[in-house]
């Protein structure tokens, strides 16, 4: 089933979006108990060349040191943090600096080659938090309640085909361009028709998960100069199956829904906030409104700080 949500503060100032998204996702907990995740944009405050790496490491002697050594080949470690997780894993987070964004994905792939280690994500303008289990447990583990930002997307997962682990928790990220993430409810039934052309262009897939396919599709279109709205509109024509998905970018959020309207999506907004979710119960955590719009089959909705900005 899965629950998806997004919230944007229109003034682009820092607000407690971590707390907002935690409440929105907790309200959608019944839609998926397997894992949950957040992309919280605008609150990291990194310098232009800085990135935050978010790495899952098995608790085994020497592994953390091996990761640090590898990172130090391309960047100094400017700050670091270790977050205990479940099932004998820790989450190692470190701030690094790179000469260019193009160094990020190769570094991630190098780190991923260490057995027992996988990079959950690397970002510049947003913080990704995702883990297995319930929303409130994850919120406590990572203190999502205190996270500030301008906008956020989030997910509660009811897994279908893919395995349940931290990496397959949503959001998924693409590195075709910086900081594009997707959360998704549903299935893309023409998955290989979407994936094949992207792979032929050289884009690298790490999983067989259809949400990863969506995020690469979106990032690819944005990299070609499509606006977010144009991208989502084209995706609804290109992708088959029952789905609704939410995209987060440094510039805003958007939602797309399949042409038969087989997965839910509602939205509401006022002068201050734009919010989208699977169900009204989630919207009501951030907005006191009686006017809730149903996203129609095949419809897309976008809120961006700079409308039609090409990323």
């Amino acid at each position: 089933m899965c629950g998806i949500a997004g919230v944007v503060y229109k003034d682009k100032k820092l607000h407690p979006v971590g707390s907002d998204m935690t409440k929105m996702l907790d309200a959608l907990q019944h839609r998926g108990p397997d894992s949950a995740g957040f992309s919280i944009y605008g609150g990291l405050g990194l310098e232009n060349n800085e990135y935050l790496l978010n790495i899952e490491i098995k608790e085994k002697p020497g592994l953390l040191e091996a990761v640090k050594e590898l990172v130090k080949v391309v960047s100094p470690i400017k700050s670091e943090e270790i977050i205990p997780s479940v099932e004998n894993y820790i989450i190692y987070r470190c701030k690094i600096s790179l000469k260019s964004f193009s160094q990020l994905k190769p570094l991630i792939r190098d780190i991923d080659r260490i057995e027992g280690v996988i990079v959950l994500n690397g970002s510049h303008s947003f913080e990704m938090i995702k883990d297995v289990g319930y929303v409130l447990d994850i919120a406590k583990r990572y203190d999502t309640w205190s996270k500030m930002g301008t906008h956020a997307i989030g997910h509660t997962r009811f897994s279908t085909e893919s395995i349940v682990d931290r990496y397959h928790a949503h959001p998924f990220q693409s590195y075709i361009i910086p900081d594009i993430t997707v959360v998704h409810n549903g299935q893309i039934t023409n998955y290989w028709n979407i994936r094949d052309p992207l792979e032929r262009k050289g884009h690298i897939f790490e999983t067989n998960n259809d949400t990863e396919c969506i995020v690469h599709y979106v990032a690819d279109k944005l990299s070609m100069g499509y606006s977010l709205e144009e991208t989502l509109e084209q995706s609804v024509k290109d992708m088959d199956g029952p789905y609704s998905y939410v995209v987060g970018t440094p510039n805003g959020v958007g939602i797309a829904k399949d042409q038969l309207g087989l997965r839910p999506g509602v939205m509401a907004e006022n002068d201050d906030v734009f919010a989208i979710a699977s169900e009204e119960v989630s919207l009501r955590e951030v907005m006191d409104t009686t006017y809730v719009e149903q996203i129609s089959p095949g419809e897309v909705r976008v809120y961006e700080y700079n409308e039609n900005k090409k990323l």
């Binding site: 309207g261 839910p264 169900e279 119960v281 809730v292 149903q294 129609s296």
Partner: protein, 229 residues
Amino acid sequence: MREIEIDAESKTPREINRDLKTLAEEYDRIIIKNPNAKHYLSAGLTTPVEVIIDGSAGYFAGTMIHQASIKIKGNAGWFAGDNMTQGELIIEGSTGDGVGQGIYGGNVVVKRDAGSRTGEIMKNGTIIIGGNSGFMSGIFMMGGRIIVLGDIAEDAGESIIRGAIYVLGEIKSLGKNAKVVEINEEDKKDLKELLPAYGFDLEDSKYSKFKKIVPRSKRPFYGQDSEEG
């Protein structure tokens, strides 16, 4: 009039519905405060009691009710009134997809817009949508009537077998096995009796502007020989 309130704030849907069923034996009107768009509110209520949901309800509000009269002061999620057999469900706001899905009887009234597949596989009863109704409204409808005072979206009456859809606004397109016919005097009389009872006060001239969507064939898929006798 014996009236009581339930505060739903810290209760689960199961607890709320258990309270409802118990209190319905003693009271005439039950008001659910702080519903906060919770799912399954008033599911399976089979007592002739009035329930007022003082806010929005989530999925399957009023599913399988029989005789109860439920008013939702906010919106409802997907499948409001699903499979109800008798009674009334009035939604002051809008609804998600599948409102009135599979109803056998009773009246479902939505004051604003409805999502897709309104009245899917409904067998009987009446659904009134005060605003627009979404994609494939009346899909596989097998009886009863849907009345839409706004527009009806694409593929209206998709694979409709029996029943009728009355539309005052625009019909974006018709689904398979659906056709539009003129409404007759008996239809107008029924609509004039029904709509004002739910607060829809139309000018008299509007009643002539309704279009009626009905099936082209009662057996569009399995040949003309009916097995129903």
